[in-house]
Symmetry: C2
């Protein structure tokens, strides 16, 4: 008998349906909505969010969870109850007054941030940011933590990850990547990417994007590709996933590898069992695991020599004038060109990680009251100089570039690098389990890889925490060494260092 | 003091935000959703619908309405409370068991109807339809009625309209249109529409559609035009209205006048005061008034000689090869060609009304238990013969053509013809109030008309019932005579009868 479980499942499936509707409102806002629809849309999203929150924190939910946990449950059902319990406890720990205040202050802060960025003046944003830091410290206190308040914030994006553990990864990555990058800068190898300085018509770029989606194995009857200012993956259901990209006719890789990235996210979303729709068994474990899927497809597959071997001839058919003379080696080198950039979202696969380490160090110190908001620009620029050897032209290009802090997203940035770490550790096992992997990629028989991910990652829903999943898969403790080895091997070979 | 009123307004604005989200789910389903998204979408729409219903019938809502009605309210606030009261009373009269049963049976019936239509076999659908008729009779009983059960059903689509009153209109229209149509069939005037038998590329058709939207005065920053199988007007907010059309390169008028029709609906939706968003003062009075706006713009404006004078040169620029030799008179005659069709949605402006009269007579008799479901095909065909002089080839082309009965929409069809009646009576007053009307249409200065409609119709929200609004505007009792006179004058002149 699992009568309470069934009631609970029905209840949360309703919550999930509301969340699906909210997701569509968000997607439409970025892709289809006429400009004047913004005001009503904000209200609709806010009403649905409040309803979802109220439903999760209902007193009866706590009772049902306790009762259901006593019932005779299947493994899947038990995993669902565990996840619901976690969500319920997290949500009920935050007093509604704090949730409201955070929502109000972050809404104001985002306006200040946008203005500060426009005027390239950190002081326009700093009073708001001080406010947000205080509120996030309060939030951490309410949620509770073992060692330091940042633990609680990190845990909201990456369940069960601790600051200490992530800091070790950050140190390891920094210790390997900083000297590797310095060596690359001194290398005599200078990839020639001049073929990129041409016009690549949007219509053909879009064809190439759709080819990537098809090749990676997305179910095209269960997704859409559209255009938005900031590329993202969203959508209202497992069988209705929406990805976006943006096109620049002077820039070939932006749209294509944006789609490769979002397609990785979308494969994860499509990979849940449809029968579990609306339950944690059909939900992503964490942002980090989500990112492991996007980066695995974008970088480990999409930027590999094997994929270039398959992909370049296809691109040459679409862009004969621009690419027919380009050789595989040159294309691969241009695609993987390492170059210091002050802007995170424009960084290459290698230096990207230093952007994350920098942000993590700063936000950890802020939340621990070991750094003042006023010192941020200085600390930011000092680290940029140390790690990447460059100095941002101004605050807009430096400390003001990301939206995350303005919405109170302290603890979010680490998930981007965790995606690389998780993905590389999985990849090691994938290479063992699929001996034909490289040939499969070359020959576009990527279904072996997708099947592996379906079985070992996607279909498991929220059954395990991220680190446990990766450790179960690989049989080794979670470590950054797989990722740093991969970087050293790949970029060492390319730049002969 | 109006403390309870404010609570009530806040509450219903939330309900309206949920309804806006549901509306977007519906629009997306018809325009953007990938095929496999259908199952989850049905669930999302169902959950949101249930939530809306539950919120409307909450016991406290009844108490708040009673308390608010005692407060010192503005005219607008009083109108809102009156409308909420009406909605609350209607919703609470239906037991949840009946709502569930109707939802279940109509869902099954729609599948049977689709199959019956495909197989062109009424008997596949008739058992379901018998069920639906019984449930609708029960629904009428729960809602209550003065003279006959059909009153209650009609009232759900057209508040305050009675069967007896509509039957008089139907009889009048029939009495005028049947002989007029017979005379037209015998007329020696035979409009030559052979120029329509050409290819009209979709891209240019779409440009023409957008020109109509702009000319009619739609705010293009507050709406969208997309493609769907069945054209409709929807959208999540006053400043976010979505219309659709469908294109057939062998058929010029379908897309264009579909857009003219939906643009009329959209102008109504955009015409509400934004400050009243989420309250009855920013809601349509009834389906009939909505249809009055769509038909007014489609027919009284769009199919008029004055509009053809403006529009044909624009079309000739878009389609020089197809239209440069076509004269205004010939275009006008082809656009207004009268021809008996067994299919309602393909009917011309004149004979369309006979399709409605036929359906009304049949559904009124069914609900009154004066006709058996089994007799429908025979009764349908007999009336088609009597009114239009034609016999459908089969059930699919006859009694099975419309979806309405399968979803339990008894009482819906009359609103289509009421739109014509309301619109014509308004038009009489518009012609008096705007002496330059015809010249304005010719010269594309349609803003005089739109301003008139904004002030006299759109901005009034649900302040009045439909007939009262039309009577207030025109200073005369609601009557079908304005409509029949218009038809006789227009088609009498065109066909010289």
């Amino acid at each position: 008998m699992s009568k309470t479980y069934e009631r609970l499942e029905k209840y949360f499936k309703e919550v999930s349906a509301i969340a699906g509707a909210r997701s569509l409102l968000g997607w439409d806002q970025e892709t289809m909505m006429p400009p004047k629809g913004a005001k009503a849309r904000a209200e609709q999203i806010s009403v649905l969010s409040t309803m979802i929150h109220r439903k999760v924190v209902e007193v009866q939910v706590g009772d049902w969870i306790s009762a259901a946990a006593e019932e005779n449950l299947s493994e899947t059902q038990a995993a669902n109850v565990k996840a619901w319990k976690r969500d319920y406890e997290k949500a009920t720990k935050l007093p509604e007054s704090l949730v409201r205040e955070l929502s109000k202050q972050t809404s104001l802060a985002q306006q200040d941030w946008a203005r500060a960025r426009q005027e390239s003046s950190f002081s326009v944003f700093s009073p708001s940011l001080e406010n947000i830091v205080l509120l996030c410290q309060q939030k951490a206190k309410c949620l509770g933590f073992e060692s330091e308040p940042y633990d609680a914030l990190l845990d909201t994006y990456e369940a069960h990850m601790t600051t200490k553990r992530f800091a070790q990864f950050a140190d390891e990555v920094k210790a390997e990547v900083v000297p590797l990058f310095a060596a690359i800068q001194k290398s005599k190898v200078k990839p020639d990417s001049s073929f990129l300085q041409q016009t690549y018509p949007k219509a053909e770029q879009e064809k190439a994007c759709r080819l990537i989606m098809k090749t990676f194995g997305l179910d095209l009857d269960a997704c859409r590709l559209d255009t938005s200012t900031h590329p993202f993956c969203g959508g209202p259901a497992t069988n209705d996933v929406r990805i976006t990209t943006r096109y620049d006719e002077k820039e070939l890789f932006q749209a294509l590898y944006g789609v490769a990235h979002e397609a990785g996210h979308a494969l994860y979303e499509q990979g849940f069992e449809e029968e579990y729709e609306g339950t944690p068994m059909a939900e992503a474990i964490s942002l980090g695991i989500h990112e492991s899927q996007s980066r695995l497809w974008e970088n480990l597959v999409g930027r590999s020599k094997a994929f270039v071997h398959f992909f370049l001839p296809q691109l040459q058919t679409l862009f004969p004038n621009q690419l027919s003379q380009v050789k595989e080696e040159a294309f691969y080198a241009a695609l993987n060109k390492v170059e210091a950039s002050p802007i995170r979202v424009e960084a290459d696969e290698l230096t990207y990680n230093l952007h994350i380490v920098l942000r993590f160090e700063l936000e950890r110190a802020l939340i621990a009251d070991e750094m003042k908001v006023a010192d941020l620009p200085h600390e930011w620029n000092a680290r940029m100089k140390n790690y990447l050897g460059i100095t941002p032209k101004n605050d807009a290009e430096g400390v003001l570039q990301d939206i995350h802090w303005s919405f109170g997203g302290f603890g979010y940035f680490p998930t981007y690098m965790l995606g690389n770490i998780y993905g590389s550790q999985m990849w090691k096992k994938i290479e063992q389990d699929i001996p034909s992997l490289k040939t499969d990629i070359t020959a576009e028989t990527l279904s072996t890889l997708l099947s592996w991910l379906r079985k070992n990652v996607h279909r498991r829903g929220r059954q395990y925490f991220a680190a446990d999943l990766v450790e179960n898969i690989s049989g080794e403790p979670l470590s950054a060494k797989f990722f740093t080895s991969y970087l050293k091997e790949k970029f060492g070979a390319l730049y002969e260092v």
